[in-house]
């Protein structure tokens, strides 16, 4: 003790004690408040399903990409509630930063470090199969056997246009549109992916009121995070996207919700689950097992009493990472438009995931609508054989097999592949049996 000064020893002892106490307090996981995600939500393990040997998946581990928004709920719930495990799968959900990256990773494929399956916008697999959005115009074989959700999107408009009172009918905007055009700075509207669902819905909305989305205004891609900021700086005057951006725009007093997309087209298809076609061909049983798990999750998500818990799981950092208050309202059907309209409770246009099978079944008529709209705006060459394309990419057969194997009641398995005639808010009808007539009936188009 005489060699080492007593003070030095005490200082070292105090420092190391304090250090270890500090570290111990900082190690491990913090206490779980509601917002951080409650790990006790699945204390009851779901028993594994009795899978007959001919239905056993070929592989157990699968990677599925997704975008952090409420549309991804079926995938997230299937993982968190143990449905994937129930059907013999070990699925890793990989959050992707944008639709462009999902397209890139599906292009790469699982062998080259990409993905074998991902959440997509319904038109995306078609655009990839035709080689229209891929590097070097390579045609990627794709398969889309399930719709993840219907409805639940919205169109927000900047407060600078609030005096026009534009909602569903965009003809009231014509004055401002021509004003802007004359001044040299056209009005701009944003969506999330060229040829995707929000692009098509936005264009339909504008064109229905007589505004040409390419010549009268500018439609462009703006990433989700920048939508509200761009609206604030006046760079865009409107956007079409999912949640929570519309409530953000209202809360930050930059815009209001002109409409929720269900008002334009009731229960319109939105996101879908897609697979690399070659992978799905080699692993059909795995694909069907994934579908079964997601279908069960969709049935769970559709029940309103589960939506609170669903929002809490979605709010976790590795998923949507959005605070529960920002998403819970619209998930439960409560819509605040941010203008003079009263707040709507129990809206019929709430996002749905199952709706007795009709929200989950990949109707070929819906794929056809998106392809026709893409043709309308010149994204797809005019005389493409759409029927052939749909038969290659649409995976309705796999959906039916999955539904039958897991015992979905016959009432909830759609009889045909078409949802029949669709009617839009402006009175236009779409008969899937007469696609060219539909195209002819549209006034503004590029073809």
């Amino acid at each position: 003790m005489s060699e080492i000064s007593r003070r030095k020893f005490m200082m070292t002892a105090i420092a190391s004690t304090m250090g270890s106490v500090l570290l111990k307090g900082c190690l491990g996981n913090p206490p779980e408040p509601g917002n951080q995600g409650n790990s006790n939500t699945q204390s009851i393990a779901i028993p594994k399903a009795n899978i007959p040997p001919e239905q056993m998946p070929e592989v157990k581990t699968v990677k599925i990409g997704f975008i952090g928004q409420t549309d991804a709920a079926p995938l997230i719930i299937a993982k968190e509630k143990g449905y994937f495990a129930k059907w013999g799968l070990d699925v890793t959900l990989q959050k992707q930063p944008s639709w462009a990256v999902i397209r890139d990773k599906l292009e790469l494929g699982p062998a080259a470090g990409g993905l074998e399956s991902a959440m997509v916008l319904t038109p995306m697999p078609y655009l990839m199969a035709m080689g229209l959005v891929t590097k070097g115009n390579a045609k990627i074989p794709m398969m889309m056997p399930l719709r993840l959700n219907v409805g639940g999107q919205g169109i927000s408009v900047a407060n600078t246009l609030k005096d026009t009172g534009v909602k569903l009918d965009t003809s009231v905007l014509k004055g401002k549109v021509s004003e802007a055009k004359l001044s040299g700075k056209q009005l701009r509207f944003a969506h999330t992916f060229k040829g995707g669902t929000s692009d098509m819905m936005l264009r339909y909305w504008l064109a229905a009121g007589g505004i040409d989305p390419d010549n009268d205004v500018i439609t462009q891609i703006v990433p989700g995070a920048q939508l509200v900021t761009s609206m604030q700086t006046g760079d865009i005057q409107g956007f079409c996207v999912g949640d929570p951006w519309h409530l953000r725009a209202i809360n930050q007093k930059v815009g209001y919700t002109a409409l929720v997309t269900g008002e334009m087209w009731k229960d319109h298809p939105e996101k879908a689950l897609s697979f690399r076609g070659d992978w799905a061909l080699q692993h059909p049983k795995t694909t069907i097992a994934i579908l079964k798990a997601v279908i069960e999750a969709q049935q769970w998500c559709d029940k309103m009493e589960h939506r609170q818990e669903m929002a809490q799981i979605l709010s976790r950092d590795e998923y949507a990472k959005i605070p529960v208050p920002d998403i819970i309202d619209r998930l439960q059907g409560k819509i605040n438009y941010g203008d003079s309209r009263p707040v709507v409770e129990n809206s019929p246009n709430v996002m749905r995931y199952w709706e007795k099978g009709t929200a989950s079944f990949p109707y070929k008529s819906h794929d056809l609508w998106f392809l026709l709209e893409n043709e309308r705006w010149g994204n797809i060459p005019k005389n493409t054989d759409l029927t052939k394309l749909i038969s290659e990419v649409n995976g309705a057969t796999l959906w039916r097999q999955a539904a039958q194997q897991m015992g979905v009641s016959a009432a909830e398995i759609p009889v045909g592949d078409s949802r029949g005639v669709e009617v839009f808010f402006d009175g236009v009808t779409f008969d899937p049996e007469k696609p060219q007539e539909y195209l002819k009936s549209l006034k503004i188009k590029r073809t």
Partner: protein, 282 residues
């Protein structure tokens, strides 16, 4: 600490007196920086007092990101940005380690070869001067297009960013070996290997280490930017994800962590340099 030994019998000071003496002596070194930091925090808080301010003040950052600040080791088993900040930084450091090591090896070896050979230097110098001004993020789209996968592309961006200071400083270091040294080598008829090990390398080591130190700083800068595009686990992607969902407080906490780690890396490099570089060269 050893000053007290020289003062003789003061080992028997009471503990409190020793601590007070120590603090009193070190105070002039600590108090000004502490005051500056406190002042900075006060000004920051003042600027963001208004409720309409989009930037959170230090108090709000503390409140909102409480869990991120105090539990850096949390959730190692969860995916993506749910992991604590330590794991995010660890993932980024791993990428930096790989890219930087490659850059170090290639930079030093290539630098010595080109530095020793005036013809090679004349040939490559204009090319290097052009390439080194390209900002690291500008390399990312090319890397992604060529390599297609995000992880190797991010590592390539680190490599190409930290390569230039190491390479160019090594070249300079080799070129500035005084004529006298070379004359001594020819007088003593040293073999190529002896010349290299005993003269070239020790003479250029200080320059090499300057290059390495600059390189590590640039590499850390580049990884944060590269990760914003590539995604996954990493401090850069964590900041970009926080921006996407509007959690500005998380961005600020991550910024502080990035700064601290950058500082530690720099100090580590200079510590290694102080051990390797010969005393009389400093």
């Amino acid at each position: 600490m050893t000053v007290d030994y020289k003062r003789g019998k003061k080992n028997q000071d009471s503990l409190v007196e020793s601590i007070t003496n120590y603090v009193k002596k070190q105070a002039p070194n600590w108090i000004p920086p502490i005051l500056a930091i406190v002042g900075f925090l006060l000004i920051w808080q003042l600027f963001t007092l208004s409720p309409e301010s989009t930037l959170p003040g230090p108090i709000k950052v503390f409140q909102e990101s409480y869990y991120k600040i105090f539990w850096p080791f949390a959730y190692p088993d969860r995916e993506g940005t749910a992991k604590g900040l330590f794991w995010q930084i660890f993932a980024s450091l791993q990428r930096v380690a790989v890219g930087y090591t490659f850059a170090g090896i290639v930079g030093i070896v290539l630098g010595i070869i080109i530095g020793l050979n005036p013809l090679l230097f004349k040939a490559f110098d204009p090319l290097f001067q052009l390439l080194r001004t390209i900002p690291p993020l500008a390399w990312l789209p090319i890397a992604l297009a060529a390599i297609k996968q995000s992880e190797p592309s991010a590592i390539f961006v680190i490599f190409i960013t930290s390569l230039w200071p190491i390479l160019l400083n090594t070249i300079v270091g080799v070129q500035q070996i005084p004529r006298d040294y070379k004359n001594v080598a020819s007088v003593l008829q040293l073999s190529q290997q002896e010349y290299f090990v005993n003269i070239v390398f020790p003479a250029s080591v200080p320059y090499i280490f300057t290059g390495l130190r600059i390189g590590i700083g640039l590499a850390w800068l580049a990884i944060v930017a590269a990760e914003m595009i590539t995604g996954g686990v990493g401090i850069g992607y964590f900041m970009f994800d926080a921006y996407n969902v509007g959690r500005t407080s998380d961005i600020i906490v991550a910024l502080v962590y990035v700064g601290v780690v950058g500082l530690l890396l720099d100090r580590l490099m200079s510590f290694i340099a102080s051990k390797v570089v010969p005393e009389e060269q400093k």
